[in-house]
Symmetry: C2
Subunit: 207 residues, 2 copies
DNA sequence: CTATGTGAATTTATTCACAGCA
DNA sequence: TGCTGTGAATAAATTCACATAG
């Protein structure tokens, strides 16, 4: 099945696999199996094998997978084998949380710029980055930053997204609870942290 | 198609519809159409109509949907027609962001307790809630709190989840980047805010 | 004439079952 | 024998096309 389009659902799972493999490495392990991965991720082995099968075979039958090889391959597919710079727009509560979140470094992201609209925040430092005024967003095009993380209130989201697109941003992680419209060349992934809570009661039996 | 199981993917979208309807109400509108909803959400009309069709018909052919009726129905399906109390575990960066996030109130959630493990945080106030020690988690069973939001580092996640289950929690929104194992009667929804960023580069053409 | 509601067709994803290789 | 890799079978979700009702 070697030459095959990778299904979106598989792509969605790859970062999960990657993180799991990284933590297995930290435990000093060098190989694993679809069964073990499935156990620690709460899935089933055939799902994992099928997912891996979309991009070549690097397991050894009867033995399992070499963690290092697998990690490198997934990194390559996700294009995480190069370090990506990202800009954070919105230095509020959520922005600070994002900046402090260890996961971003795990995947090799480097948050290289922080913007805010509030005058009193400009020039303050957060983490070890100077907060810039949003009017500086156009400079992103010269700073080799192609990714942006939007952690701003809803009403400013579309306007800011427009400015980011103008500045040559190619991918946006949108935390604002609003759909934003961008040209086809730009990919948006949206997260609404309240939305997932909103469907919990549905799944809670008799409550 | 009236009596039908609602597909998971539809349930996943219901909170999005709900939020959109709420904001249309704020704009003073009273009715809408699948086309208008689709436009402002970035979907297509037949997806929306199909989704709605799983739980009865309340549109008027040739006219559209009454926003208020639709809102009530979705609220009922999601069991959001009663106010839900939730506990927040972890008063760090992410926890504070969650507490300040307007979306939770939109869906009628009431964050009624905050826990942390760090002694220096205990008894401080956050928002207008006293932070309690995690050893108080067992009291949740008497406080009518059935939902928990986990915003703690990975290594403590499973242990804390066990305590929550023990205290009668029925639903957990897990922000820690780790799979947690719970009995079948408890529903877990996990969010890893870094994971979504990790698949952005894959979708960015030539980057 | 307009916009819903829904079977049918199509596409996509998951699960199974087992052949193939160390 | 043990675990991968993958076609085939099943299940689920999306899209279409059109009958239907105001």
């Amino acid at each position: 099945m070697r030459y095959h389009r990778i299904p979106d659902e598989t792509v969605r799972r790859l970062p999960i696999y990657l993180r799991c493999l990284l933590s297995l490495t930290e435990e000093g392990l060098e190989k694993t199996s679809s069964q073990k991965l499935a156990d620690s991720l709460g899935t089933n082995p055939w799902q994992i094998r099928k997912d891996f099968s979309y991009f070549g075979d690097f397991g050894t039958r009867g033995v399992g997978y070499k963690i290092d090889k697998l990690k490198k391959q997934i990194n390559k597919i996700l294009k995480l084998d190069v370090k990506h710079k990202a800009a954070l727009i919105g230095a509020g509560n959520l922005g600070s949380a994002v900046l402090a979140y260890p996961g971003f470094k795990v995947y090799g992201f480097d948050i290289a710029a922080v913007f805010d609209i509030a005058p009193e925040k400009i020039s303050r430092r957060i983490g070890n980055i100077d907060i810039e005024d949003v009017s500086n967003i156009p400079t992103l095009s010269e700073r080799d930053i192609k990714l942006a993380i939007l952690t701003i209130p809803l009403d400013a989201a579309q306007k800011t997204a427009d400015a980011l697109v103008e500045a040559g941003i190619r991918g946006i992680l949108n935390f604002s609870p609003q759909h934003i419209t961008v040209p086809k060349k730009v990919k948006v992934i949206s997260i609404d942290i309240a939305m997932d809570l909103a469907r919990l009661p549905y799944y809670m039996p008799a409550c």
